[in-house]
Every structure is written in C-alpha cells, then in structure tokens.
Symmetry: D2
Subunit: 341 residues, 4 copies
C-alpha cells in the first residue's frame, strides 16, 4: 500500500538519528537547557537574522499553538484566523480550552487578507457595546496554509501593516515552514518571516525532526516566563535536547531547506501527472499538499492502492482528497502513484 496520507508518518532524518545515537549516553541537562538546544537556538537566531530573538523548543503543533496564543492574549481577547485554520478546526478545541475564542475570517485558498482583518476590526469598533464582545488581539496565519498555498511577501507585509495599525500581535504558524522556504514560488524568506511576525514557529514534526517545533519570539520580552508557561500547558519536554538536537542538525548546512525541497519536488511531479491525466484540482498550491477532486468511485478505486487524506464532499458529490509528500518521499513511490493515477 502506497502512503501519501500526511507528512509526519516517517521518523527523523538520518543525520538526526545518528546524532541521537551518538549522544545517547551522554548525561544531558533536561528541559532544553542543554548545549545542543543552546547551539540550535543560536543557529536559528542567525538564520533569522535576529540575534536577540527568544527561541523555545516545544513538543508539538497543537501544544505550541495553544501555548503561544494563550500566553500572548489577554483574557478579553480572541485570535483572528481563517475558518480553515488549524486552530479553527483540527485542534479539538484546545484554544478554547485555553480560554480564548477563535474569531474566524473567511478564507480564499486557505488565506486571509489584510482587508478581511480590517473589516473585522471596523465592525468591532463600530459596535458601541463591544466591551461585551471578544476583542481581536492577535492574527494567526499559517505559512504554508492548510491548503498548501503561500502568502506572498507583499501579502504578509500588508497583514503586518494592519496588525501595526490596529494593535494586533501577528503569529505565523510554520508547522510546514520548510516546505514554504524551499518552494520556488515562495518569495518570503526566513528573515522576512522573522521581520514580519511577532512570534512564529519553525516546524520540526512535519519537516524531518524526530518531534517538536521551534517557537521564535522575534522581539524579546513579549511573554515573560514563557518557559514556565510551556510547562503549564503541556508543551515542555523533559528530554528537551531531543528537539534541540533535531533543530541543531536541521539548521546545520541548510539541511532543513535541502530535505524539505524533496517534498515540493515530489509533489510537483504528482501535480503534473494529475494535470496531464485531466484531474480537477480543488486549490492549486505549490508546496507538498495536492488536492484532486474525484468521484466517489474513483476515490474508492484509489484507496485500494493508496492511502490518502479525505477533505470534504462537494455539492456535486465529488470528493476532495489530499496527497501529501514529505522530506522522505521517494521518487519510486511517486512513480508508482502516477502509474495508479
């Protein structure tokens, strides 16, 4: 059975496994206070062009989103996000469990715009009773989005401007950031992201690390005692160096970008084959997720040989499915998939 179901079904890049093996019986300080985490933090700061950035290593995506959002927002604030945003749909209510409302904005191709942020703000401000409503306090976007699409640098700058003028914190969820940064169509570099976001993440779980996400506060001091806060929210790992060593390895010699490029290249080949074979595509996206639209019969037929993701059933009865590649997807598997398609 071929598997294109998601991008976190392999372990870690071999270099990371090697390093874990090498350091396995060293006695390493816990909770991310070790030398490997320290080294990783410095490499990330350098890559971001932010020598003063605060960098933390957290356990996973949902933990990270919940912890960052809850630690930044005030009690009376909520977070603006696309209605297809990961925090809106697939985190089992973790954000609300943390006490905050997700204020959803209509998305287009998985993205929101500065305009939609302004519309929300204007409506909120025009309500004289808005002290009885949830005030927007933060904008959450993901790069790439849950639909594999990318914000252009110009779009990001516009969103930043809206945040500045309104007074919102901008948080960029980079759970798949490697697949954005290594994409030919992308024009927002890691340094751009670090310039634009108040806080953002560099995904490890889906991008070659054993596990974990790096959280980067681009201006120090936004959340005092974030370290302790990660513990309260379940996002801290006792053996923090497992994540630190993962990132230290990934941010050595550009490994992060190099290995992520593979996902985009394999996805591109699948996308091309879909076009060639006349498949409809739900949302065209340049990174490692592809969304063909197929009849239920075709979907059933495919599922005999390929494991893929199911997104939704359209009004015409056809189904949107997802093929997802990763840093570890082989061209051999891609060729087999194309044969099936």
């Amino acid at each position: 059975m071929l598997k294109f179901v998601n991008d976190y079904c392999e372990g870690a890049h071999q270099e990371i496994l090697n390093n874990l093996q090498k350091t396995n019986l060293e006695k390493i300080t816990g909770y991310g206070l070790d030398v490997y985490s320290g080294s990783a933090r410095n490499k990330i700061r350098a890559a971001c062009g932010k020598p003063d950035a605060e960098v933390y290593f957290l356990v996973g995506g949902t933990q990270t989103n919940e912890t960052v959002i809850s630690s930044v927002l005030k009690q009376y604030q909520g977070v603006l996000a696309a209605d297809t945003g990961h925090i809106s749909t697939h985190e089992a209510g973790a954000i609300e469990h943390g006490g905050h409302k997700v204020l959803t904005l209509e998305q287009k191709n998985g993205k929101i715009s500065a305009k939609s942020i302004w519309e929300y703000e204007d409506k909120f401000q025009s309500d004289l009773n808005n002290e009885h409503e949830v005030a927007p306090g933060m904008v959450y976007i993901s790069q790439p989005t849950e639909y594999g699409t990318l914000y252009s640098l110009a779009e990001l700058k516009e969103i930043r401007r809206a945040c500045d003028e309104i007074g919102l914190v901008l948080y960029i969820d980079g759970a798949r950031l490697g697949y954005a940064l290594s994409c030919d169509e992308n024009d927002a570099s890691l340094k751009d992201i670090a310039d634009i976001a108040d806080v953002f993440t560099i995904g490890g779980t889906k991008c070659g690390a054993m596990l974990g996400e790096a959280v980067v506060f681009t201006k120090p001091g936004l959340v005092p005692h974030f370290y302790t806060i990660t513990k309260i929210h379940g996002a801290m790992l006792a053996k923090g160096w497992i994540i630190g060593l993962s990132f230290d390895t990934l941010f050595t010699d550009d490994l992060y970008i190099k290995i992520c490029r593979n996902a985009n290249e394999t996805a591109a080949k699948i996308r091309e084959a879909l076009f060639t074979n006349g498949y409809d595509i739900y949302i065209d996206s340049p990174t490692n997720q592809i969304f063909p639209v197929v009849t239920p019969e075709k979907a059933a037929e495919l599922s005999e040989n390929v494991e893929y993701g199911f997104m939704e059933t359209l009004d015409d009865g056809r189904q949107v499915i997802r093929f997802c590649t990763s840093w570890a997807t082989t061209m051999e598997d891609v060729d087999k998939l194309i044969e099936i398609l």
Copy 2:
C-alpha cells in the same frame, strides 16, 4: 429623552420591592437555602408540571449560560448555537473562557432548525478524524430569540427529536421567556418547554425581577453538585433570597405572565405604527423587540429624542435599529414614540 433601548433598565415590579421591604430585617438564610427561595422553587416546579425538577437561582444571564454549559459539557464537547445566539456574540467570550467552543449554525430569523443540527452532525460523523475536532454535546437555543422571534412547538419538538437521536443535551435560554409565554402567537407553553428541554432558564432580570435567572433541570441528576458549581463560576448570590423572593412573587397568581404581556402589547402598538408609516422591518417578530431599518439620517434624527439599540449597518448603508419594550413600558411613552416616528 424617551428610552426604548433595552428591557432591563427598570428595577423590579412593585410587588417584589414591597416584599423586599417587608422581609428586609428578617434574618434570612443565605445562598438560596431560605424559605422564599424554597417556595419559589415549588411554584416553578408546579408551573412547569415537573415536581422533581431541580431549580436554582443564579445572578444573571451570562453567568447562567456559562455555568450551565460548562457544567453539562464534557471537555471534548462544544455547544451548537445560532451564529446570532447570545453566547456566540455578546458574552465577551465567557463560554470559551469556560473552556468550550461555540459551534455556530446559520440562523434564519434568529432561529436554527433540526435540519441544521443534523447537517452539522452528519458532517462531523463523516470526518474520520473527528477525534481531533470539537464534538457537539449540546444545543443552545433562546426562546424568544435575540431577534424576538419564537420557535413553534412543532419546531421545538423536531429539535428535541434531533437531540435525542444524536445524543445532545437541549438547553433553552429563556432570558426573555416571559415575553414568549405571554405572546398571543406563541404555542409552546411553559409545560411544553419543561417537557422538551433538558435544562432551561426562566429570565428574571429582563422580566420584572430585581435580578436573577431561574435554572430548571427538568430531570434531576443531570449535573451533580450544581450548587457548588454555581459558586465556582460566579453565579451564586450570598443573599440568594433576593432572587428567590423575586421569583416567588412573579410565580404567584401568574404575575410573571401578566406583567410580561405589557411588553408585547406596547411593542405591537409600535410595530403597527411602523407599518402604517411605511418603515421597513428587518425581522418580523411578535414579542418585545422591534427592528426597523432606517437611513443614517433618520437614525440620527430619531436619536435626538429616543434612545434605541443599534444592531448593524446593511450593505445599502441603512441601519437596523432596535426598539425594546419591557414589563414596565407605559402606553404614554409608546404614544410619544409613535408621534416621533
């Protein structure tokens, strides 16, 4: 300045004030364990035809909604509600602060339907990964709705059936229940409400009480130790008898219905005058809230003499405003308003 801005800008019905005066220096047991609260509970049970119902007196509307919802739902569940529902919009995120997501359904005239509940459920069930999403656990409706409209008995029964088949708790927010029960167009009696809801409220704050809401669990045992839970959530009053005595008075000789009828009658007269004078009405509703659509100029002109509520600006630039009457509105004020209109 005339005031038709809301239905909680007067104190308490005179009978209640008299009773508060009469009992003022009695030494009364606190926290709702007094004889007046006991008597009120019995009268409410009798009026509902539910001798075993559990009845509690809570401080106010938002406190009540938050406490009931949080006490009934499991951690992994959310509450289905109209996107115009009070809990969706005007409780400053109290439901989310309590840990639960409000799962919004599209409304029509402020109401949701059994069909829309089923659609949500079907979509939820069709998602194979729904263990990573918020599960619906409760349906919240308000009677009358935030737009003054009423669910018919047939509609309520259909919603009940959906709740039974899916396994959802049905909660009816009756913050303005008196204005439903005293409305000629209403066909769902208090006994019907008590038969249909698992838990519902009988509004006091907006319906002649000094303050407070009665919460009725129609089947005992749904939430053990609800009493303590109200304290944790800020919904308990030390001098609980103030609310108890209010409800004891309101549920003596049908006072609740009698005084609420006034709001509907005064509203009807305003509505008629609006029709006669060619005003557009945003949503036609038979209870104590009226929603004319006016130009900004007209809105400004009116605001010189009348205080009213602002709802929203339509795409054509016109504004939806709200006139709200209460148990205490005088025909004299209504006549003055009509003159202005």
Copy 3:
C-alpha cells in the same frame, strides 16, 4: 430563635431601599454605566483620597476575589494567603478554577506577616529549579480577617514594603472593611488602605448594601479592560446601578461607617458578657465576630435558642463557635443572647 450566624442575613439599609424605590421606574443605563454608579465612584475616590482610582462594582465576594486575582496574576504566578484566608478555604476552589494556586502561609490570629512573605520568597528564590514551581505574584490579606482581627497600620506598611521589594501586588479583601474602619482599635484609615494596597475591596454585601462589592484599583491601568473581564468571570451585574446606588448611599454622610459601628458595639457587649461569664475565647478580636470555645453539651444547649456558626472541634473535644453581629443587629437581640449565655 435568635440569629447570630452571619452578617449577610439582612437585606439593605433602609436608605438604600428608599433610593431603590425612588428610582425604580427611571430608565437607568445598565452595566454600571449609570449616573448613580458614577456618583458612587466619585464619592469612593474622594473618601480614599485617590482621585484617579479605578472603581468597579461587582456582584459578590467570591466573584470579586476570583476576578481580581485572575486578572492581576500572570499564568505562572500564584497568590500568597493565610491558610485561613477566605480564598484558601471557602470559595469552593474558585481561584483554582480560574487557573491559579493559592500559596498558603501559616497565620497567627488570622493574619500573616511581612516575615512570612519573605520566608516564602527566600525559599522560592533559593530553589534553582523554581521555574518548575508556582511563582508568588500577589499577596492577599483580608481586613478585618476571617477571625475578626485587624492588621495595624504598621503591619500593613511592613507587608507593603515586602511587596515592593519582592515585586508583588498587594490585594486587600475588605468584604467586612466597614467593621474595621468603624472599630476603635483600628488605626488604618480608608486612606491608609488606599495608599497601601494596589487593589482592595470595600464590602457591601456584609456591610449594609443590598449586594455587591466595590473594587478599587488605587493606581489606574493595572488591569486594562477590567470591565470586560468582570463579565467573563461572572462578576458583572446587568442592573449595575443596584450596587452603584447602594454604595452611593453608603458613601453619603459617612453612612457606611455609622451603620457598621453598630456591629462592633453589639459585638463588644456580647464579648464582655462572655468574659464575665467565664467563657474561653478562641481568638480575641475587636470587630463583629466573636469566637467562644464551648463544650459539645453547651453548644447543643445554645443551639436550641440561638443560631450561630460552627468553626472547628479542638483536640480537647471542645468546639469553637462564632457569634456574628451586623449593621442591623439590635441591642434587644443582644440582651436576649446575653441572657442565654
């Protein structure tokens, strides 16, 4: 049956009832934005000598404590309090439900000392792993305490100094503040309290108001949007003017102090009678609570004629009970009680 069970079993001072009656059918703006609340705020600011103080009116004691503590503390902080403090024992876990640990200090006569705060801080700072512990962020004391005792001005100043040097917010719970301020043995005036506390409350529920507590932030800006936060926590009243009018009345012509003095005077007479009759007193306190120690037989005998509070059973089997007077206690009742004693 005589009742000396607590100080919130009567309604409101007659002046307040009169004012509620007088304004009953005025149409008053909700949520504490009315003129009576505004006037009360100004009178409280003047009485405190703090023209810039922020003053809010909240529903009750537990709501107030939970809302203030939760709004002031950061996620990683807890609140230091006497192990007999109201928040430690009798709020059903509301503070923890709000997310914060109560860090208990040993009390003496219901009081904590600057020394005990420093000891906690020193121990916390000496722990190299204290980022994995709850950091103290606030000191909570009550004046008078739950045992009716008073902090002297000198003690309060010492606690303030500790808070300044450590960096802690000082919160004084004045649920019974009127009984402190009107006590002859008290040397800390309202202005002193306002100078010393960052935030404190002036109790209404137990001191003659219909209901409600005034929260005074002595330096503006400590908690932005506290207004909305009170709503989220269940501490806001729709008809806020009921509380505002209560305080407006109480802070006119020193009524608050005048009526509270009665509680101390009646308590003093009971205390004297207890001494005369050879009763042991558990904790000697000068305000409106008295704690005799009696045998179980005596307790049973008393309970035939008097309702009183039970505190605890001592190791020798004797019981600590509580007689509590209020602004409304009559000398007639006191004489009857003395006869029984």
Copy 4:
C-alpha cells in the same frame, strides 16, 4: 564531571534506538493508532493481568498528571496528595491551571496513609458548609515516591479501601514505577498496582524510554474520549509510535524490569558507601534516589566533581542533597563517586 543529578539525562535504551532506526522510514500511522502502539498496549495489558484495560501513551509526566486529574475530577472536586507530591510542588501549577485544587496531606517519608485520607474526609464531612469548599474526588500517590520510598502492598490496600468507602478515584503516578517493580524490598507487583488503582502510569521518560508515559485505566470507561482529551491538554504526540515503540520494546522479555534493576543496584552501592563513611541519610529509601545530609562546605566540595540535586536546607544549616541513578548508570561512575565520598 560525574552526573547523578536525575534519571532522565540519558536518551533511550539501545534496543529502542535500534527499533526507531529500523522503522524510521516505514510510513506509520500517527497519534498512537499504529501497530507498535497497539502491540505495546497488548503487552502492557497482559503484564497487568487486565485484558480490558485502556492504555494510552502520553508525552510526559506533568502532561499526564494534569490530563488524568482534570479528566477524572468533576469541577467541584480536588485531588488529595502528599504535600511533597510532584503535583503539589514541581508542576508549576499545571493542576491548578487545569482548574483543580491540590488538597495536601502531611506526608511521612514521602507517603500518605489511609488514616490521613480518612481524617481529611471526616473533617470535610463534619463541616456543614462544605458545599462551599473543594470536595475530595481523587487520591494521588506516587510509587515510588518523590523520596524514593515504597508503599507496601498492605498500605496500598488500605488506601484502596479508604477510596472505596469514601468514593474516591485512586491514581498512582508511576513515573519511576520500574524502579519500584525491580526493587527487592517491593512487595506490590504490577498486577497488584493494576488491581488497586483506578488509573496509574508506567513511567517511560525516567525508565529507559526515549520519552513518554503509559496511562492505564484499569476499568474501561472511566473517562470517555480520553484520547481527544489528551490532545486538548497538550499530552498527545503526533508521532505517537515513538512512545508506543519504546513501550513495546520495554515490555518485551521483561526489559523494563531488567534495565531498571540497574538503578537500584547502583544506588544500593552508593548508599552502602555513605553508611560506611558515616554520612547521615535524610530519608532512607530502597530505590534509585539517595538523600545524604551534608554541611554546606561538604556540599560545595562535592559539587566540584559531581553534579547532584539540591533538596532543602535543614534548620541546623546542613543541606539535603540527592544522588539519583538510572537504568544507564555505570558501576564505573559509581566507583568514582564512592571514591569522592
């Protein structure tokens, strides 16, 4: 520098690393739904003698404690624990952040007794106002304790009996369970633990796993949808198989017990050397933690060559320090330590 500072400063047992390497590029289903986790669950069920037990794999200790406690307790309940319990002291307030008070009991050698549970319960029940207090709902104990001591089977059975009679859930935190089970002085087997606890954990982080804890609900159905709840609380790992594979390996051929025995044996040798050299021991315990009492000078001297844990300063100025061994401690290191001592 020798390191005896804790038992989670090494990576994973070599077998686990080998298995992670072997399966690294397999495409494995996420979130613990994989075959390795399934196999591990079955092996754990068999080892516990509980074929129906529900077994989950969570990220770490604090996450696990917070998730289990929060999912089992009702809103009005708290958890009884030793005042030295991990949840009382070293989880940064995570339990309270989850909404629940830790009700502390005095400990002796790190342990609580059935008697102390009964004393708490009796006092709680004797308070007529206990609806305004936190009700005990669960007992938390750790085996071995934070001081390395062990509950005997008889003690555990007595605690179980108290829980049954009072109606409390019994939760045993086995973060270091391997060090109990492999200890010669221990008489409570894994099957005993599974018979006695309603829910318990089998520690991985400190006992040879790469990371993670196994949670065992001994009677199915105690917490419906615990799976989703782990996600909400930050305790779920996307690549759940890392934990599953760890436990699958550890529960093959008794590896878990075999490797943990090493910690006890190395600790025994250190303990013997301490006795021989006349050191005082703070609490005598038979597992992998040893607590010598030393002068500050001695402590400083030791710290030049050994990294150890600091516990507390005694009244006489001496310090309690901790040496901690693990599954990976070598006799070579132990010999070096003994030489220094």
